[in-house]
């Protein structure tokens, strides 16, 4: 049980629409339609959430930290470069693991409870491939 989830701090995270819009702040933003962007949330604590956001061209990695004024894009990558890759997964704590999104984006924290069968790799591949189909 996460005790921090009892408190209303949890409501300070941005909405999914705000998260989609935030990719326009990326220096690599290519003018894609953000309204159709797909979200893949992989990390969720009382202060931070992390997402991958896929448009037709790119995947953006974004951190929503309630102590920051706005969500922040940390990296972006052409979607083709992430299609079909095998994720490397490591243990960190009881609740948290580490994942490498390819060789350039390593050691990203993910919340194990969001992937009960440790299926982050297959869920990621489904996410990327379904985004490519759109």
């Amino acid at each position: 049980m996460q005790f921090s989830k009892f408190f209303d701090d949890y409501d300070k995270f941005r909405s999914e629409a705000d998260i989609r819009s935030a990719i326009a702040t990326s220096k690599n933003y290519g003018g894609e339609d953000v309204s159709k962007a797909r979200l893949f949330k992989f990390f969720d604590t009382s202060k931070q959430r992390s997402y991958l956001i896929a448009t037709v061209q790119k995947v953006y990695c974004l951190v929503d930290d309630i102590r920051e004024n706005e969500p922040r894009v940390i990296w972006s990558e052409d979607i083709a470069k992430l299609t079909g890759i095998a994720l490397e997964i490591y243990d960190k704590t009881d609740r948290t693991g580490l994942v490498d999104f390819g060789s350039k984006h390593k050691n990203w924290l993910f919340t194990k409870a969001m992937f009960p069968n440790n299926d982050i790799a297959s869920r990621f591949n489904d996410f990327v491939s379904s985004s490519t189909e759109n």
Binding site: F3, S4, K5, F6, D9, N28, V63, I74, S76, W108
Partner: protein
């Protein structure tokens, strides 16, 4: 049951102290009264949360409100019973209000401490400049 209702009536509406001379089960009356007041505390906080957008008890209302409603009522019932066991309270409405309201606050403090400890132990993504 009749004893309980009669005792609650004496406490809530006559504002009198319930004891062995006017009720056969003053401990039960007090415990249930504490539970009722505990439920009121959560309901009032829920109303304040929706009216003012902030919870006085710093709770995240929603579906969890049901958990708080039953959990805190039960907690107040147990604390009320313990209070009677150790002879801490008179069976009065003011004592029931004290237990009913302070029990949720004690639980909140406990939850806050646990949450704070949990947050200190939480790993965080590094917020670096975009690459």
């Amino acid at each position: 049951m009749e004893n309980l209702l009669a005792g609650l009536e004496v406490m809530f509406f006559n504002l009198e102290i319930v004891n062995n001379t006017n009720n056969e089960n003053p401990v039960l009356v007090f415990s249930v009264a504490c539970a009722i007041i505990g439920a009121f505390a959560v309901v009032l906080d829920f109303i304040v949360y929706h009216a003012r957008g902030a919870s006085l008890l710093k709770l995240r209302h929603g579906w969890m409100t049901l958990f708080f409603l039953f959990g805190w009522s039960f907690g107040a019932l147990v604390v009320g019973w313990i209070g009677q066991v150790v002879d801490m309270f008179l069976v009065s409405i003011s004592a029931a209000i004290l237990v009913g309201f302070s029990w949720p606050i004690l639980l909140t403090k406990w939850l806050e401490e646990r949450a704070e400890k949990e947050q200190q132990e939480e790993p965080e993504q590094e917020l670096v400049e975009e690459v």
